[in-house]
Symmetry: D2
Subunit: 343 residues, 4 copies
């Protein structure tokens, strides 16, 4: 498959490039950057300087066709993806959008993002790319809305429970911490090392755009309406998310039974692991795994599900490659077998 990446200098794009290097069936034929046109990505990022990549190019449909793109990754910010998606409506290749622009219907989008939504007709064509839960739809889709990083971590933990109506849909309280790469490449006071280092910072309390993403995907997949509380934090590390869901179970099971129940539900999945030890970001960082831990508190009766993943891989570029594999009929794990860093 001949791949083009739009927004080629951002973090998600860089991770896509790293992953495609290791993928036996994907090949980069063009790197698009409207701001760095004609520069070489090997110059911008010295870590790449033994490779030969296409020179950064301006976006145009003529170019996309000329390089014979089969698969287009939009690694562009929300709002910007919309501009490209409008031009791609007539194109017959496959597109995976890593931004939030295709994830929410118009009213919700405009309430939670600070700008206009894409045309509802375009958004309606997109499949939500949570691979484990939408695999069949993705297989036949030409347009995939790649999920948000927090949303992926949260949904993989919640969906089994909500699908089987095992928890109270109105008692879902989530706390989620992300490494600094989640804040993007933009220079801000909060991402200056001296400020972010030796710090934890809560942000977007009650206002994070992954709240409506979680709620609407739950409703789409399980038919259940939920209202979630989500607190989000930046923690001083580069990669990784840990999301803790505190829940009210509606059925009685022991902690061990809950763990076994999750194991059974996901036993066919290559990238989901049920973890019996204390969860930690390091167990998944550097890989496409999502690790789930399950606790039952006999004092309070509450069930806690902890979900850990690498926000750059399973939470962004890794899941995009996983979706590309599904859309292309490849083995879903192709190019994604890197183990977590550990060190």
């Amino acid at each position: 498959m001949r791949c083009t990446i739009v927004g080629a200098t951002g973090y998600a794009a860089i991770e896509l490039i790293r992953l495609i290097e290791l993928h036996p069936q994907l090949e980069i034929v063009s790197l698009i950057s409207d701001s760095k046109t004609d520069e070489k990505i090997e110059r911008l990022y010295s870590f790449m300087n033994k490779n030969q990549y296409p020179v950064l190019t301006e976006f145009s449909m003529a170019h996309i066709k000329e390089v014979e793109t089969d698969l287009l990754f939009l690694a562009t910010p929300s709002g910007i993806s919309t501009e490209y998606l409008k031009q791609l409506t007539e194109w017959d290749g496959k597109t995976i959008d890593l931004s939030g622009d295709l994830r929410l219907e118009k009213t919700l989008y405009e309430a939670w993002y600070a700008h206009d939504a894409i045309d509802s007709s375009i958004q309606a064509q997109a499949t939500y790319g949570l691979t484990e839960w939408k695999r069949e739809d993705i297989k036949n889709s030409r347009l995939v809305a790649n999920p948000g990083c927090y949303a992926t971590a949260i949904l993989l933990g919640l969906l089994p429970l909500l699908e089987q109506q095992m928890i109270d849909p109105n008692q879902i309280i989530i706390h989620a911490s992300s490494g600094l790469s989640g804040a993007g490449k933009t220079l801000t006071e909060q991402t200056h090392h001296v400020r972010s280092n030796e710090n934890v910072r809560m942000y977007k309390q009650n206002r994070h755009q992954h709240i409506p993403e979680v709620e609407s995907v739950v409703e789409e997949i399980t038919g259940q309406k939920v209202v979630v509380s989500l607190a989000t934090y930046l923690v001083p590390l580069n990669r990784g998310i840990m999301a803790t869901m505190t829940l009210q179970p509606l059925v009685e099971k022991t902690e061990h039974e809950w763990q076994a129940w999750f194991s059974e539900r996901y036993q066919q999945e290559s990238f989901i692991r049920i973890n019996q030890a204390d969860p930690e970001i390091r167990s998944a960082a550097g890989s496409n795994y999502c690790d789930l831990s399950v606790y039952l508190d006999t004092r309070t009766g509450r069930l806690t599900v902890v979900s850990v993943l690498d926000n750059m891989q399973k939470g962004a570029a890794g899941q995009a490659i996983q979706n590309a594999n599904v859309m292309s009929g490849y083995d879903e794990t192709l190019g994604l077998t890197q183990q977590p860093f550990f060190i």
Copy 2:
């Protein structure tokens, strides 16, 4: 006041020494360490090597009296403090115990700690040293149970609400992150830099010994029985705690009214600040402040209180000095006016 510190090589002791250096009325007359007897603390910690400290000495009541100790800090681990406290029953000086040994009544203590509790008669004499809420008792006390780090952060946020019955006592869900100094000086796989760095790790889920501490102090002070959920995490930094309490309010107020209500409640307090911006550990680390932020989510109706403090200062040594000031009749802020590090 002539001060002796027992357990003088641990983190809490080192922070006590740093703070007493800046205190105009406290003086260190003895440093006790049963494991490092006859060594000099300036040798063990090069950062101290321009100062003149007493040589590390073995504990004995004769020694405590010989050096004319007025004020004894037990900076020893839970279980160990008990051994010293037993010997101190006849002594007429003032004691502040930084361990958990005096914080819980016998049954609770033995259920949550892995060893025998101290005699109930000794525990009954101790005043819980949450200065802002027990000031009058501390003033007249000879034995203070200095609060736990998480417990301090949580209680300062919860007590105003529970005292006025403003929240549902059965809907208290807490997530709290601590820097690595919270894990103590003991060498473990989890505190090895390569493991803890670039990591977040959940630990003691549903089993943290500050759960019963919070619950019993709430009951003692407000008369309300509460059952709390507490998730605790280690985050890759040295100092600081952020605790987020997700709550169900029983009265109607706007977010702004809740903030104003907290400001009014604590307006006389030197070390409690109500913060309107995104909370961050850095706002308090290096100081004795506890910073509180208050959010109301109009979608879910939930109230969120975020509490930030330095686990070595307001969460340990700083509050111990604050209590020493109260017990000695000094201005409560004496020696505690250092501003947060920021850089």
Copy 3:
């Protein structure tokens, strides 16, 4: 002494404010910021929000006089300090400039900095504020050029040896690492957490402006001409500098004799400590100490002097307060007795 700080929102100013809070004789009467005029510093930095500081004000000589400033700190960048210094020529108060603008004579300054030098007549009036070596001059000075952070660390190690002609002045090879606060508050790709974290980066190789500062101060104080090699690195931490000087001794002494020789040379100094253990940044960070370690390699005959200090304290604001104490006739350690953080 009534103090005014110009450039009040930068790192050096923030550290000055923290230190002045703990100083019994200094008081802040004005905070000057031409970019943030009329804002409150407590709003810009939440960590300060229990204090009452003067509102940020525009610079004018009328204002400086109106608030009855005794002592003016210029915590402004090189090039900007010059603008203020020009206006201060007629003023009869004391000024300490933390920038590089007064440290070099015109030709050198213009060769190493990227802009015009201040009038030579103004520069000639300034005393170089390396307190331990210029104490008597500082006492009688109204204008002090506060030394650079690397220059302070390096000079305190080199000067005793060069003064006594104990090393080859042409064989001085220096490697020095600094925490990120050394790169200043400006937002750059290199200070974005995701880039600087888990990284070491060499910068300004052979071009660092502290090279001519070291060389000209050595010549001024010892009469020796030296040419030094200096490699500088950013390391992923907030505060602290470690500078290693690899040297060719001209006299024979054992390692132990060299250590004793340094101890004797500096034994009267409150802020200089000779350290026998492996040097580490943590031994000085958070304090005004400069810690020196001395090694002799019997294989190569080379002498190694390692100098550690906190770039925000002894390397900037701390030394400025030390100089203010000297200029004001106070005990030199006043307000500077904080111990290193350790934790």
Copy 4:
């Protein structure tokens, strides 16, 4: 090739396992750990728990043969490797030893390591595995001494210059910083997060065992006797080394000519890159690259070569795989094409 790893729970072994996962021709048939016999590595390291690895087994020659090992990696500490190597003398498979036990001849080894050397007859059979400089010997070797991490970084920079007698062999001054994984998995005060974080620490000054390794390999390969000064530091990050060599050139070239000269020397090498920008650890961490930067200081006449690599990859497990590829007749880059992490 059927691979067995001895010392399977250490850092080097874990990195070998990660790399072998991505290698199309290598397969793990046994994991040896004398201390954790019968445990499962997936239990010890949760990050591995979706894989199926052989249960940890005790070492015996019978076992090595029974599992039909083609290639044995000794990822054991210095001193311990010797014990295994003694038993392997009769075995006809290939062995790569990642410890220092085969790198130095007996007298040097015993002077710099704290214990007995291996039999000189065994050491004499080993080829030093600096792939780029010993490729032909490695091809025909059954026993490879995999180079030390610092030694690799330093030698790749020095050897071209010394081979051509372009620098003074007595003026080689090296400063090298390593991430904490370089200190190994053993729990020590210096690797406790609270101590190593926000710190830089010099260690083994003039005593590092890679000093004689560099000197004897230079002599073996170039015939030149050199005496080097090496200062080593731990910096607060997990992976990566930066080594700076300050040198006295014997020929005249401009900085640009030196860079071109290095580029030409290494142009055939897949893993060596000549970098024109400021060197940084991040350019190589996570990959098998060694990045070299070259500076000429026209003031001092000194040449500076900076070498950056990942101590776990090119400095240990990566180079071991590279050597395994050479020994096995595979393409040298097989399984080693991962790009640096960058994020």
